[in-house]
Structures are given as structure tokens and as C-alpha cells.
Symmetry: C2
Subunit: 218 residues, 2 copies
């Protein structure tokens, strides 16, 4: 029979072992669930301006519409290439629910057209970064905006630097057109196969892994 | 003065506390360092074919060259929009060293042009995914290829599905042109500001966070 002292030691050992396992589990699992549940990728400052988003190079790329000047009589409203990203938590949420979540942010990185010809042919090739815009969906912050989306521009061509903060652009300037023409909740998913393929497919599915593709256009 | 029993208890407690801290540190820190050191994002099968890359939607987006048929007399060699991604470890390595590492993989997702006009103007807008290509740099696997880069196509327009594996395309079909015309180690970085901004800037820097941008083209 074990002594009382040995029994106490064994009990303490067991308790500590359980504590270690519990702590390890909590410390690593919590990150994953917190990431999904509550992390947002935007900050509003004290003046209700959006702080310029950062770190979006590791977000999920959505698409690049191109509407160059030379196809629009030299007066394209959006003459740059627009690389659009969505924050990864909102992408997961879109996969899970088919909806843009409260706190979703999309970033539009404006890139000049650097070249219109290359060894691969005539076309449009990215030049340099020239601006940054963002749209944020938040009932908390934008209760009166259609769809609770607000749109911001940090572009500052005169100085060649981005603004550090930006106020929401007037609804009629961007949002009204998104409301009338965008396919899914103010987002032009009709031009974003990345989002169409992900919508409501489930959080653990990666649509790009599927071998199925449309037959190439002839 | 404390009893021997109390001292033993305290020692055991301290040891367990140290063990807990050590375990927590190792369990969470190891993931980060392992990720960087040794993870590769490509697999060659027993027949020396590249297994179709998956999961690239969370890699780093590089750029989208557009060379449509209607700007190339109806015979563009690359009539689709090409969304190019690099695996995240190789992107970090490129930031750290300015070089494409052994094992670097770039994926080129082929997307049809879905529309040539939208409310934002005339241009090119993504349609549907139609193909997938990849280039891999590996001295181990491709010692005789220029720059140790090999290029693969999984596109399979007849069946509308991607191939599960693909052999390296003949050097003259792709690599020779990359060798002659691509700016940095067979990669067309002249059309990829994401890579130019990242090159050699340091692993802990996110170039997109810098406020500096080129002045917008007039």
C-alpha cells in the first residue's frame, strides 16, 4: 500500500498533468475560434473616420476589373486596375453562410496600367500602386447607409501618399450605384468568380481544389 | 522554517509551472518556425509529374495580366485573365532575400473574360475559372531546366476538368521565353508590383502598409 505522502504526490502530479493539457488545449484552440468569431480588420477613429487598412496582402484576393481610359474615350471613371481583397474572416463567413458579415471589409488597391504590350501580346499590365479604397459593412457604425455599407478612399494623388484616415464617401457617390448594379449585397460578385465559387459552400471546403472547370471558351 | 514536506511541494509546483510555460512556448512557437523553414507547397508523384496544387486561394496574390483576343487579332496566345499567386513561404523568402527559393511555386489561375462592359465602363471583367498552370523552381527536381524552373499545365478544356497531375512542359514552350523576357529569375516581375515592392524588404515588413504611393497618372 502506498504511503499518504506518495498518494499526495500522485494526486498533485495528476492535477498538474490535467492542468497542462487543459492549458495547452485552451491556449491553441482559443486562437482559432477567436479568430473566426470576433476579429475585425477595420478600425474607426474618434472622428468616425476609417483608419487606413493594412496587412491586406495576406487577405483573400477577389478579382481585378480593368476599365482603361483607351476603351472609354479617354475618360474612364476607374482607369486603373483594381485589385480587390476581402478580409479572411469575412471570406470564411461568406463560405459558411453565403452572407457578408457585420464587420466585413473589402479593400481595393489601385494600380496604374504600366504597359499595354508585352511579349505575351497586347493588353493591360500592372504598373505601380497609386491608391487605396475600402468598403466596410457595419450596422453598428453605418446604420443609415444602404446595406450598412460605407465606402472610403485613401487615395491622395497630389501628394503621392495615402491618407491615414478617411471619412465615408457620400452615399450617392458610390453606394447608390452598388445598390442598383451589384449582384450580391452591394458587392459586384458577377465579376468575382472567387466569391461566387465560395458562397455558402462551407467553411472547410476550398472550391479551388475541385477539378471541375468550365470548358474554355472557343 | 518550512517543513521538508512543504519544500518538496513547492519544488514540485515550481517544476510543473516551468514545465507548463515551456510546453506552452514550444507548442505555439514551433508552428511558426516550422512553417517558415521547411514547408513546400508542391508534390511530385512517382512518375515525376506535378500533383495539381490546391489551397492556393490563401496564398499571396501577385497580379493579373490581361491579353484578350480582341486586342490581338482574335488570336491571343493567352486570351484569359491570369490570376497569379505565390506560395506564402516563398513570398516571405523573397521579402527576406530578394530571391525565389528552392521549392518556390507560382500558380496561374486561368479565368475567362466574362464581360467587356459594366456600369463602370468598357473593359475586361472576370467570368469563370477555366484552367490552372503552375511553375516550380527546384534544383533537386529540375536540374537541367534553365533556372531550375519547370512549367506545368493542368488545363483540360475538352473535358472541363483539371488534370490531377501534369508533366513539365518542354523548355522551349514556356521557359525559353521567360528566360529571355522575365525581369527577375524567369518571373515577369516587371508586371507584378506586389513582388517588386516585396523584394528584399525584410520578412517583417508589409510594403502595402507604407503610405507612399506613386502620383496617379494624369
Amino acid at each position: 500500500m502506498k504511503s499518504t505522502k506518495e498518494n499526495i504526490f500522485l494526486t498533485i502530479k495528476s492535477l498538474f498533468a490535467i492542468a497542462i493539457i487543459a492549458l495547452l488545449t485552451v491556449s491553441c484552440a482559443d486562437k482559432a475560434s477567436d479568430d473566426y468569431k470576433s476579429i475585425t480588420y477595420f478600425n474607426m477613429d474618434a472622428n468616425d473616420e476609417l483608419v487606413r487598412p493594412t496587412g491586406y496582402r495576406s487577405w483573400v484576393y477577389v478579382g481585378t476589373p480593368v476599365t482603361p481610359n483607351d476603351l472609354n474615350d479617354g475618360k474612364a471613371p476607374f482607369p486603373e486596375m483594381h485589385n480587390v481583397y476581402i478580409d479572411p474572416q469575412s471570406f470564411d463567413h461568406y463560405k459558411k453562410t453565403g452572407k457578408f458579415r457585420e464587420g466585413a471589409i473589402l479593400v481595393k488597391e489601385l494600380v496604374s496600367i504600366g504597359s499595354k504590350t508585352a511579349v505575351s501580346g497586347n493588353g493591360y499590365f500592372a504598373g505601380e500602386f497609386i491608391g487605396l479604397e475600402a468598403s466596410v459593412k457595419s450596422k453598428e457604425h453605418f446604420p443609415d447607409e444602404p446595406g450598412n455599407w460605407a465606402i472610403f478612399s485613401f487615395t491622395n494623388p497630389e501628394e503621392g501618399t495615402l491618407k491615414q484616415t478617411a471619412g465615408a464617401l457620400p452615399t450617392n457617390m458610390c453606394n447608390a450605384c452598388h445598390q442598383a448594379n451589384a449582384q450580391d449585397d452591394f458587392v459586384f460578385t458577377q465579376y468575382y468568380p472567387v466569391l461566387r465559387a465560395a458562397k455558402n459552400i462551407g467553411m472547410d471546403v476550398s472550391p479551388e481544389d475541385n477539378a471541375k472547370r468550365m470548358t474554355a471558351a472557343k
